[in-house]
């Protein structure tokens, strides 16, 4: 078996189908998009080659810059709220005395529910007329805080972030939980004999040993935040007045509502590059830590 697998031709043979699929479905379209981004094209007629004009326009486009600001803000929320919270949950759930399975499942449920369902659910929570949130505020006597949460610029952005953060907490928790569980129990026993407290164990032992897992989670979370689309599309579709717009939503409306294939492709290329750059920066960051 080892002999077969060490044969380079065999390796190629096994990898080829995946490579082909990835190339045809992902890699080549990216290059095609790259070409489209150099065109002024409505998607149907003939495109006019305009060089980098789309990109020049992009960096001056206030709506685009605002959408980047939103996505970076969301990335920050993901990194500094979602990940630490997931980590906390993972460590707690892994050490809980009773009902470990129950908690694990409960926190993971939002992940398996369809995003559209979650969007509808939270829309009902936020609804200005009969929403759950407003009803709760009413019961608590805070009538003056009742508002149309998704219909106002000042609240819509935060309100649309919360469901996404909430949804994926369980996902990251599960990855980290698996990581925690895979750590050798001997280390913990040794630590306890030395008289370490739970907090000390968490910060001195669990988290440092979890670093490879954390890296995966942070990367997923960051990339996910930069290309977030579905929940925002369902909840607000970028509105009101672009206050919740992120680059992927802007790209979608540019291409499919405004028929600006060229400009929209330029945005998509930007998103790809942005994700690549951030992944590289993260890698650098974690490598630096390891040395």
């Amino acid at each position: 078996m080892n002999k077969i697998l060490s044969n380079k031709k065999v390796i190629c043979l096994f990898l080829f189908p995946t490579l082909l699929l990835t190339a045809v479905i992902i890699v080549i379209p990216i290059f095609i998009s790259g070409y489209y981004s150099l065109l002024d094209w409505d998607g149907i007629g003939k495109g006019i080659f305009i060089g980098l004009d789309n990109y020049k326009e992009l960096i001056k486009d206030g709506r685009f810059l605002n959408s980047i600001k939103n996505s970076l803000l969301f990335a920050a929320f993901s990194l500094f709220l979602q990940i630490p919270f997931s980590l906390l949950l993972a460590i707690i759930v892994a050490n809980v005395k009773k009902g470990e399975k129950f908690y694990r499942t409960a926190y993971f449920i939002p992940v398996i529910i369809s995003t559209v369902v979650i969007g509808q659910l939270w829309q009902k929570i936020y609804n200005g007329d009969y929403g759950l949130l407003n009803s709760l505020l009413g019961i608590a006597g805070l009538d003056n805080l009742q508002q149309d949460w998704l219909g106002q610029e000042k609240t819509a952005l935060i309100c649309s972030f919360i469901p996404i953060l909430w949804q994926y907490v369980g996902y990251h928790m599960l990855i980290m939980y698996a990581g925690v569980k895979s750590l050798s129990t001997e280390i913990y026993e040794a630590a306890r004999i030395d008289g370490a407290s739970n907090t000390q164990i968490a910060f001195r032992i669990t988290i440092p040993l979890l670093k490879p897992i954390l890296k995966v989670c942070v990367t997923f979370s960051l990339i996910g935040a930069l290309k977030v689309f579905d929940l925002i599309y369902v909840l607000t579709n970028g509105g009101p007045f672009f206050s919740t717009e992120v680059p992927s939503i802007y790209m979608y409306t540019t291409i499919f509502d405004s028929f600006n294939y060229g400009y929209g492709s330029a945005i998509s290329i930007f998103i790809i590059l942005e994700c690549l750059v951030f992944t590289m920066l993260l890698n650098l960051f974690f490598r630096g830590k390891e040395v």
Partner: protein, 461 residues
């Protein structure tokens, strides 16, 4: 060295994939092949009956012609599906030498399919195009579609209702024929109007009065789902039509600088007046179109300005509003030049002829035949309002709202379709956003006019 080998390998691989891709490109022609096989099969089946016909009718022995038509009426609840299917058979009986091959694909898939087919030169002789100009314009500009002026006889034109053919013209040429259409009217919840003691508004003052009375009675006067932005656009469409009249709107589309004039700014002022009077629900910016329609049907608003495609929602057995809705023409303004016989709407889904077709004359004849049948029979089945003379239709089976809106339409003199169908896709986004900002009181009517003046000129279509 190894690295170079890898790079070389990658290069070869990409070439291999590229050739695969082009392979895919030509592969899709297989589709049309099967389609034409189907056609041949149909031909064979049809020619049996055709022979019998020919003996009886002894029509001119023209060559056998096959015309393909693609449409997107595939659901069984869509009356147009049956009409197309019937028309294919009936037309063959009328013209035994012509065989129609129809193929239906639904919704979004259809959009992709038709686009690819035209670009690849494999489009059918006749193709359905979604209502309104912004979808079809690029196809006309690219020269894919055929103007049909020369094939239209006065006979056909006479049967089309006044003003409707205007909506089929682009650059002065007719490209399609109307079928059924949709008009926007003001729908009032009769129960709420009665309880609030409000009258159905016929002018601006009465509208504001009704708003006040409905508000006082605890109702939301007008329900509006502005999250999707186009429902609000309908309001500016009609308010400006009442303010300046349809003719001035047409002029403004040809020269958008005219949007920055007194009439259009006044219309924008009236929109904000309505907002300030509390006419719309406060949650309009987070309410979607669907929520708006189901909200009205559930009795959450006293008025809604929408097109007649919402009738089934309001007349549904389970709807609170069943039997309690009245369709009226939008109120007129004393200081405006628009009249109650000018309508917002009137755009029509149309079937277009491929510029590459081998049988333009026959295709145009079938187009006229089919369009009239959809217009008349579609109306009878409650699918929309007729663009063709439907005076012979028995309307007793139609719902109350369908009858009311047909009566309103019978008074119509001029139609301007939804503006997002007239403006280019990009500009219609701008326009819808501007109306939303207007409704949120984020911009002044003057700003609105100035920004509208920056749109590209477009033709009424």
């Amino acid at each position: 060295m190894k690295l170079r080998m890898k790079k070389l390998g990658a290069l070869f691989l990409s070439i291999a994939i590229a050739t695969q891709l082009t392979g895919c490109g030509s592969g899709s022609s297989g589709d049309t092949k099967t389609a034409s096989n189907d056609a041949a099969a149909n031909d064979a089946a049809a020619s049996d009956t055709a022979e019998a016909e020919e003996q009886a009718a002894d029509t001119e022995s023209e060559e056998e012609i096959t015309i393909t038509i693609w449409h997107q009426s595939v659901t069984d609840t869509d009356p147009v599906k049956r009409i197309i299917e019937d028309s294919v058979e009936d037309y063959h009986e009328l013209h035994p030498n012509v065989t129609i091959v129809q193929e239906g694909v639904t919704g979004e898939q259809y959009k992709t399919k038709i686009k690819t087919a035209f670009v690849a030169g494999e489009a059918p002789d006749i193709a359905y195009m979604f209502g309104g100009g912004s979808f079809v314009k690029p196809y006309i500009d690219a020269g894919y579609l055929l103007p049909i002026d020369e094939y239209l006889t006065d006979d056909i034109k006479e049967k089309i209702m006044d003003g409707m053919l205007e909506n089929c013209k682009y650059n002065g040429k007719i490209y399609t024929l109307p079928t059924i259409t949709f008009l926007a009217n003001l729908y009032c919840n009769t129960e709420m109007f009665e309880e609030a003691g409000a009258d159905y508004p016929t002018n601006w003052e009465e509208l504001l009065e009704a708003v006040d009375k409905l508000k006082a009675a605890g109702y939301t006067p007008v329900i509006l789902g502005e999250k999707d932005r186009w429902p609000g656009m309908y309001w500016y469409d009609i308010v400006s039509a009442r303010q300046v009249g349809n003719e001035a709107i047409q002029e403004a589309f040809a020269d958008p600088a005219k949007f920055n004039s007194e009439g259009f700014i006044k219309a924008a002022e009236k929109m904000q007046e309505l907002v300030k009077a509390g006419a719309f629900n406060e949650t309009m910016l987070s309410m979607s179109y669907d929520e708006m329609v189901s909200g009205f049907a559930a009795g959450q608003g006293a008025m809604i300005f929408q097109a007649n495609w919402i009738h089934p929602n309001f007349e549904d057995e389970a709807a609170v509003t069943n039997g309690k809705v009245k369709a009226i023409a939008f109120p007129v303004f004393a200081d405006g030049t628009g009249t109650a016989t000018e309508f917002s709407g009137g755009g029509t889904d149309g079937y277009y002829i491929n510029a590459e077709t081998e049988h333009p004359k026959e295709a145009a004849e079938y187009l006229a035949y089919l369009s009239e049948r959809i217009g008349v029979e579609g109306y009878q089945d409650g699918a929309g309002l007729p663009c063709w003379d439907a005076s012979n239709v028995d309307t007793s089976s139609l719902s109350v709202l369908n009858q009311e809106s047909a009566e309103l339409m019978a008074t119509g003199t001029s139609y301007i379709t939804w503006w997002d169908n007239i403006l280019s896709a990009d500009d219609s986004e701008t326009y819808k956003n501007l109306v939303a900002e207007l409704l949120a009181l984020k911009i002044t009517p003057e700003d609105f006019g100035a920004k509208m003046a920056e749109l590209q000129p477009s033709e009424l279509y």
